[in-house]
Symmetry: C2
Subunit: 465 residues, 2 copies
Amino acid sequence: MSAVAAVLKHIDEHLQASVDRLFELIRIPSVGTDPRFDAHCRKAASWTAKELETLGFSTSLHETTGQPVVIGKYSPEGTSPHTPHILFYGHYDVQPADPVDLWHSPPFEPEIRRGKDGKPQIFGRGACDDKGQFMTFIGACKAWLCVHGKLPFRLTVLIEGDEEGDTSHLDRFLVDNKGEVAADVAFICDTEMWEDKTPSINTFLRGCVADEVVITGPRIDLHSGYYGGPAVNPIKVLSRILASIHDKNGKVTIPGFYDGMEPIPAGTRKEWAKLKFNHKQFLGDVGLGIPAGEMGFTALEQIWARPTAEVNGILGGYSGAGVKTVIPAKAMAKLTFRLVSGQNPIKVRNAFRKFVRSQLPADCNVSFVTQGGASSGVSVSTDSPYVKAARSALAAEWGKPPVMSGSGGSIPVVESFKRHLKMDSLLVGFGRETDSVHSPNEKYDLESFHKGMRSWARIIAELNG
Amino acid sequence: MSAVAAVLKHIDEHLQASVDRLFELIRIPSVGTDPRFDAHCRKAASWTAKELETLGFSTSLHETTGQPVVIGKYSPEGTSPHTPHILFYGHYDVQPADPVDLWHSPPFEPEIRRGKDGKPQIFGRGACDDKGQFMTFIGACKAWLCVHGKLPFRLTVLIEGDEEGDTSHLDRFLVDNKGEVAADVAFICDTEMWEDKTPSINTFLRGCVADEVVITGPRIDLHSGYYGGPAVNPIKVLSRILASIHDKNGKVTIPGFYDGMEPIPAGTRKEWAKLKFNHKQFLGDVGLGIPAGEMGFTALEQIWARPTAEVNGILGGYSGAGVKTVIPAKAMAKLTFRLVSGQNPIKVRNAFRKFVRSQLPADCNVSFVTQGGASSGVSVSTDSPYVKAARSALAAEWGKPPVMSGSGGSIPVVESFKRHLKMDSLLVGFGRETDSVHSPNEKYDLESFHKGMRSWARIIAELNG
């Protein structure tokens, strides 16, 4: 039996135990962005550290300006300066579970149910993003260590708790702890496969910058009869501003928004066109049908390589039961801008603020609440032994070569690794489009979890030479 | 001592007892529009019935499709078919108190504090609208009965609990109980004075129709990275629609909105211009300065005689702490349209719905939740013995003749009385602009309460002939 075959067998035979450990972790409601869940985040961090200790890693919990960071360190015997050093990155924090009433099972009580295709799926907040995903790598290391006693590289595991919220916490941590974290390359498991049976390696990632805008008008909520007419209405003002962010072709109208952006290379557009991305099915799965974004780009290009301005939330006035005839004193909206390589997130946020101020009527005031971190979009180099190892390993596990894809989502840490540590990232993930990450009824296919562990075992084997 | 002088003396000497009774009523949190307060509404109704019984009225509590209606009946000895029959109308329900944290004293624990002008004011939700106001009439009757033993007219008192919410409940009650309610004229105390020392009789009233619009897009909240671009965003769609309701001159753009409206008579515009309404001070009091409504009309005309479309509330996506990077599945807004004489409220609502549907992108759906009642604007006839009696009485009490004014607020019952019972209304109220009705820190000047009772006593005296 080859070195890898024994490990794959071990993974197959111990799948239930791996699932059990993942369930333990999902049961901890580690919503990083909401202070009410802080204690749970700490618990998830401790759980992760303990899990790494069972692999024989030396672990530490680091306080940050946000949630604690877990570091696990491993050096095989006989380590030399030439032994490759890999950083594995994941996050234990999860998105808020609301609206909870739309879940078919409680978000923090994981269970396996069969999906529409009859295949078993793990349901729970974080089942995919990112608990299920990062546990595939940990599971593969565990199996490898059980079978062979040592890994063929030095390894630093970094699992953080602010990925879904204010990513500036980890960014700061990385700057302050470069020596603790620096490695030759980062492995990250937080992305999707190209399709059900086709793995992918992500080479394009969008960045993200968030903002919250609060428009105030009258100093108190007013009677809409006594004041309706002459009194300015902050909801109307906010609506007007939000409506003006896009022109009728879906282009963002904020002056300077597109500054610094590189156009999508013609070759890349061609390659992506060959993928025959089925946007009807992609949108159909979530109840939509017609690409609503920037005209002149395919849906895939819109997601992978074009920036967006989205309103994530809006609130103003009375939204309870019945009627309240008020002109509200204020209205607010939360926005995120997805960015591509070349755009400067801070400049984009400032351009948005200037754009809002330029449209403000004399009787209104505006304030902005800086939210979360700010990350640029990145393109990941495909020309490295790690990418080559992953291509070969994924092809062996899934029976076809991986697609070199993009992702519309942001993994700001990829940008931080590049910026602060000059480190490239290898992005391999086993999520599926249907996983409802950030939505009710998040799931992770048992197959994703199982073959995810097997894929990492094969990548380790490739690195074993 | 004249008949009225003795009553005025009685009112002066028993002011504290009158305040105590009003405080009892304010302490009952009778928020009619929110089902969680239903029991309190019933309690307020019972309290009112008991109060009327102390005046020797025969009372009854009537179930309706909404909150119960209190009816009190009084006939002086020796009543003939020629004895005038007055209906007095008020409402015991109050607006929701939120945002409660902006109140300086708990909304349902009334207290008297000195205002900026050093004058004592009664603070509490409903202190003015309408508990304090309707209790001025009850207090005057009570004093008159104590002093003279009988009133110079037949009286039906109707105090309801759905004025701030779904006014269709009372409307239905009036249709079903015409015999119980019909009288020669309705007296209503739910309006404001012209200014601090100048009383008014309201002759223009705006109507009101409400609607709630819910825009849905994706069937679930989506990850704004994975879907941002091609997925339609219901908040953006809603914002665009709300922004399009007004043109740049503040005119409502909904086709058919202004149908049936009569222009403000030139004479009325002239009279109102003479009032030298200080819109800077009016808006300045609530932190504003510049009339934001329909161009080509004075602020006073905008409020008294021009219709409006206001967004009272908006909600969509994530509005909690931190960042949630979603494209929400839905967004909703609550609107009210203030209407003037001639506009048909149902046609206006239908026109709004058609307008929304006409702007809906293919991938969105819309639903509407019918809210509250629908009332037309009305003009009240000034040519009646009751208006004449009130002019003379108010002039005597306040030392100057009342202004024949308008009101931007809606009192749908005035329209219902006219429509179902062919009954005109006499609108005399003692509220002040600064009362913050519908806002935190609602108050009623002790002077309004005191001189309000004295004013009604003088009106009763005028009717005594």
